[in-house]
Amino acid sequence: MTDTEIADKSKMTEFVSLRAGGQGYCVEITSIREIRRWRTVTSLPNADKSILGVMNLRGSVIPIIDLAARLGLPITELGPRSVVVVVAIGNRIIGLLVEAVSEILSIEASDIQPNPTQGRDGNDGQVVGLVSIEDEMLKILALDTIVDSEAEEAA
């Protein structure tokens, strides 16, 4: 999803807001499959520290990624509100461990501002947009960038 695409959309888009590494993010609801309670995963050998392991989701083996660690933030401490957000990205199903999931937001495209820091050094385009909700800035995540870097590591 590019900034122009976001700007062109004049209809409402639904997002799920969530917290990872103490910060507020939101993810488009259409890519979310389900939200599950955290349960112990099977760790993978020699994997990146952001990859917690694999989990059994009704017979599929899905990798669980610590979203905070993946975004370069301190690793998520498991708390009572920690949940796994199961997302579909392309053909892949992946679980993201987050601190908490807050609510479903309907956001008008015109309220989304492009991320002015995008493209600068050290920013690999994970945040594609910014939106202000009740005085808090939420960052809109581009999930495909999370998987793409994932694929490189897996390969």
């Binding site: 020699n46 083996v61 990798p63 390969a155």
Partner: protein, 689 residues
């Protein structure tokens, strides 16, 4: 439907047709045939020719045409099935199968035998003129001398009623072609009956409403008329009534009723020189065998879901037990039923993927015949357990290794006829291919009654090739296992049949990749037996469940040699961090699975660890784990779809409690250990998690 998918259908149909062709030829070879057998053979070849023509496979069409011509002579009793003729038509069916196979790939060479076989066929059928050209589809040369019964009752023509069923159209036939086929036989007056066509309101587009009344005059041969309708057997209601020139002379023998109603009576009129016990049933009663072509993907999805159902049952069962319910409460009884049903469904779904080995074995018959011919050896091929069912994918992937092994059995196993006579054996050798289910496995055996494996020669060869050292002491099993070593070939002269250098190691790799094992037994002068043991499906794997730190992992049983809990003195450190395990005097390198997987060790003491000897890449390594839990079949779940490949990990599985266990890839372990050591020596290893 795209042309590609049509082609796929064509090849799938050809496979079925060739299978039926081979089957019926076998009946002929064993003298258990009747007229219908020959008809079925003819139909199979004719159908292949017809469809091949549509795709422009000219070589295939030409060959099938000549083949068909000869078969037609047999069918019409103008050619007896002598041993020579039988051999020829069997070889031709092999060649036809090869041509079909070759048509899959554009530009494949025409099999070498085609030209000779074609020449032989033409000679049999009385020269190229009699054969005619492939285009003369419906013109069958009238029978020269009609049997006497017929000449006593001259037939003026036939009244034919044709009522196609919807399936006739669905299978791509066209009544018009049938009618024009009749037109070539004599003067035809066709009439279409439209009474049955309903008003537009009631019209069902999938129904067949039209019927035809066809008056054919000037045709005498009823067989020729029937031939026109040969390929719509079972797709239409057909009545053929002969019209006699002088009717009502012999009331009991001249049927006025339609033929379809009383076929037996009519056959007394029809030429019937060959007294056969079982005549073919009338066309209308012949039900086509119905099969279902399903995308394997769908079946796989079903298998996955069912596997999950079983695990789900186990999870509920465990939770219920933990909740402390009385064991005979209603819910536990219901849950037991649920478990039984789930397993029934699993068996049923697995059965969809399972196919009898028959078609594979039939193909192998061809391989043995060709190998026998190429080497000038006389071989009888015997198959057993053809009905044994195994997974379809496995069936496909077995073809190459079996071909190789059977060629070897003929080329290296069976001796030349002269040599066999010298040693007092029958001139003709026997190669036996059998399949059977044995304790949750499929066991396929290839047994020959040839010379057996020569241990001294095997050893000598292995030493020459540098596979073993000159002073190596090997057990009998280890000597035979040399056959599977890469680059090993015992053929004294490299024939173009086997010994092409690819060798038996390819066979072993193929079998191992299917999760199977190959074993060899042999006794000099008596022959050899190769035993392939395979899991029932590719979806499950026989595994040893081991504990590695806090995780549970699975080692494939097929690569495990033995498990050892050694004495402290048997484990020695060679260089810092490099350990070896002494197994009956041989030092085997140790791979610590905990370290390799970056997992904590529950106990640092070596003597409390269990060592699993694994045979991978033709080397033995000792994999050390914390404990061994169990040995059982696990369902294989791929990691690649959602994550990606991980070195050292083949796949994952879901345990009874719903948790995931990783399945180790034994072939990658030693490589992984080596690369980890290299990384370690460069910089101290960071904590893994």
């Amino acid at each position: 439907m795209t042309l590609d998918s049509l082609r796929e259908t064509f090849f799938a149909e050809c496979e079925d047709l060739i299978e039926s062709l081979t089957e019926n030829l076998e009946l002929v070879a064993s003298h258990e045939w009747d007229a219908e057998t020959i008809n079925a053979i003819f139909r199979a070849v004719h159908s292949i020719k017809g469809s091949a023509g549509a795709f422009g496979f000219t070589d295939l069409v030409d060959f099938a045409h000549h083949y068909e011509t000869t078969l037609d002579l047999i069918r019409s009793d103008k050619l007896d099935i002598s041993n020579d003729v039988l051999r020829l038509i069997i070889r031709c069916s092999d060649n036809l199968a090869e041509l079909v196979e070759g048509s899959r790939v554009e530009g494949s060479p025409v099999p070498e035998a085609t030209k000779d076989l074609t020449a032989e066929l033409i000679q049999l059928s009385g020269g190229p003129d009699a054969a005619g050209s492939p285009e003369d589809e419906f013109v069958f040369t009238p029978v020269a001398a009609l049997p006497i019964e017929i000449s006593l009752e001259p037939v003026e023509g036939f009244d034919i009623t044709l009522a196609p069923q919807p399936s006739l159209y669905l299978s791509g036939h066209d009544p018009l072609r049938l009618i024009s086929g009749l037109d070539k036989l004599g003067a035809l007056t066709p009439e279409c009956i439209v009474d049955a066509v309903p008003t537009l309101d009631d019209f069902n587009f999938d129904e067949s409403y039209l019927r035809w009344k066809l008056k054919l005059r000037g045709a005498e041969d009823e067989d020729a008329v029937r031939d026109v309708f040969q390929f719509v057997d079972g797709h239409c209601t057909l009545e053929i009534t002969p019209v006699l020139a002088e009717p009502a002379n012999e009331p009991h023998d001249a049927p006025v009723e339609p033929v379809a109603a009383k076929p037996e009576e009519l056959q007394t009129v029809a030429p019937q020189p060959r007294a056969q016990p079982a005549k073919s049933s009338p066309p209308t009663q012949k039900a086509a065998q119905s099969t279902l072509r399903v995308d394997p993907e769908r079946v796989d999805r079903l298998i996955n879901s069912v596997g999950e159902l079983i695990i789900n049952h186990a999870v509920i069962d465990r939770n219920l037990k933990e909740s402390g319910l009385v064991s005979n409460s209603e819910i536990t009884t219901a849950l037991d039923d649920y478990g039984t049903l789930a397993r029934e469904i699993q068996e049923g779904v697995m059965a969809i993927r399972a196919q009898p080995v028959k078609s594979l074995f039939q193909r192998m018959g061809r391989v043995v015949r060709e190998a026998g011919e190429a080497t000038g050896k006389k071989v009888t091929f015997v198959t057993e357990g053809e009905a044994t069912e195994i997974d379809k994918t496995m069936l496909e992937r077995l073809a190459d290794p079996l071909t190789h092994m059977l060629r070897n059995a003929v080329d290296h196993g069976i001796e030349a006829p002269a040599r066999r006579q010298e040693t007092g054996k029958p001139e003709t050798g026997t190669v036996r291919l059998s399949a059977a289910h044995r304790s949750g496995h499929v066991v396929i055996e290839i047994i020959d009654d040839g010379a057996g494996l020569n241990r001294e020669r095997l050893m000598q060869k292995a030493i020459e090739k540098g596979i073993i050292t000159a002073d190596a002491k090997l057990s009998e099993g280890e000597v035979y296992a040399l056959l599977f070593a890469p680059g090993f070939s015992t053929a004294e002269s490299v024939t173009n049949l086997s010994g092409r250098g690819v060798g038996m190691d390819v066979v072993k790799t193929a079998i191992t990749s299917l999760g199977g094992k190959v074993g060899i037994t042999s006794s000099p002068g008596q022959g050899s037996a190769f035993t392939i043991s395979l899991p029932l499906t590719l979806a499950v794997l026989d595994g040893m469940i081991v504990e590695v730190g806090a995780e549970t992992m699975v080692l494939p049983l097929s690569s495990i040699v033995e498990t050892i809990r050694p004495a402290a003195s048997d484990i020695q450190e060679v260089t810092p961090g490099e350990w070896v395990l002494s197994v009956r005097g041989t030092f085997v390198p140790v791979v610590n699975l905990n370290a390799l997987m970056g997992l904590e060790q529950t106990d640092d003491d070596h003597t409390n660890r269990v060592f699993v000897l694994i045979d991978a890449n033709d080397a033995t390594i000792a994999v050390s784990v914390d404990a061994i839990q169990d040995q059982r079949q696990v369902v294989i779940k791929s990691l690649k779809g959602n994550y990606g490949a991980i070195t050292g990990i083949a796949a994952a599985t879901i345990l009874g409690d719903g948790n995931i266990a990783l399945i180790i890839d034994p072939e990658a372990l030693s490589g992984l250990a080596a690369s980890q050591r290299a990384a370690q020596s460069q910089h101290s290893l960071e904590p893994q998690f």
